[in-house]
Amino acid sequence: MGIVVVDVMLKSEILDPQGQAVAGALPRLGFHQFTDVRQGKRFELTVEGEVTDEVLAAARSAAETMLSNPVIEDVVGVRAQQPAPQSPAAEPQAAEHQV
């Protein structure tokens, strides 16, 4: 099972009111080092099997036709997600459930 991650951001010339709100709120929590915040969207698309180049191309096409609105958004990333490391408890559990 593979996952393709797609990132979409508002175009830089579009005012981002949500990002602005976040940028205004961070200093109140003590974060003074961030001069700007822009908010976007991240999509995770699941495929059976591996993430091949064809899968990535299909994801990019889906991103450009539906996941983003090209008038106001850019697709800034389409990549395979790295699989999560195996959890150490996985193997012993299997043994427990054996008849």
Partner: protein
Amino acid sequence: MKIGVVTFPGSLDDHDARRAVRVAGGEPVSLWHGDDSLHGVDAVVLPGGFSYGDYLRAGAIARFAPVMSALIPAARGGLPVLGICNGFQILCESHLLPGAMIQNDHRTFICRDQRLRVENATTAWTSDFARGDEITIVLKNQDGQYVADQRALDELEGEGRVAFRYVVGRSVPDGPDTDAAQVTAPVKYDRFATRNPNGSYRDIAGVTNERGNVVGLMPHPEHAIEEGYGPSLDGRKFFTSVLRSLVNA
């Protein structure tokens, strides 16, 4: 004259759009999103609401509905289409109109009686108005800020394709779109006083295509058609215009 009104899952003002068509003297026809036929209607209204919950982006999913596969070529071919609020969003997502809508600049939903100026009285849906007419129409939305790049905006202005503009003038500090600075400056009371209610670029409230058959606007004319149930009767002319233009066609 038959005017189709499309219902998507989540459409809210379809019932009211049908009423407006009836009041203007037309025959409303209900069109289902999943049906790829327009059933020979003479014009189509894409009504307001939250189609598909506004998920992904307002209108982004509705734009791919089967009914749109029939509507888009028909619109390109001259069929009069009116997109109201969510309908406007769907028309923009479908690229039948330029630009896009993002969240209101004050980040809240706003419902108010909004003063508009008619900028283009030659379209299928505005021919019963005169250019410069000021009308009062209900505005109610969360994502009504019209944006487009400079080139697109200049093109719209240059070709006279801005259909409606928000009348921006004196304002009363009351609604959620209030600028904090306004609070300290006492203003003359005027119940029709307005401000740009969502940050739309160039105060644009509605636009039309080159041919003038497709018009989209954020405010809701279908809520200004009945005495006692809206701020005015100014919405009627949207529907009488198209009926007249169809008769004359």
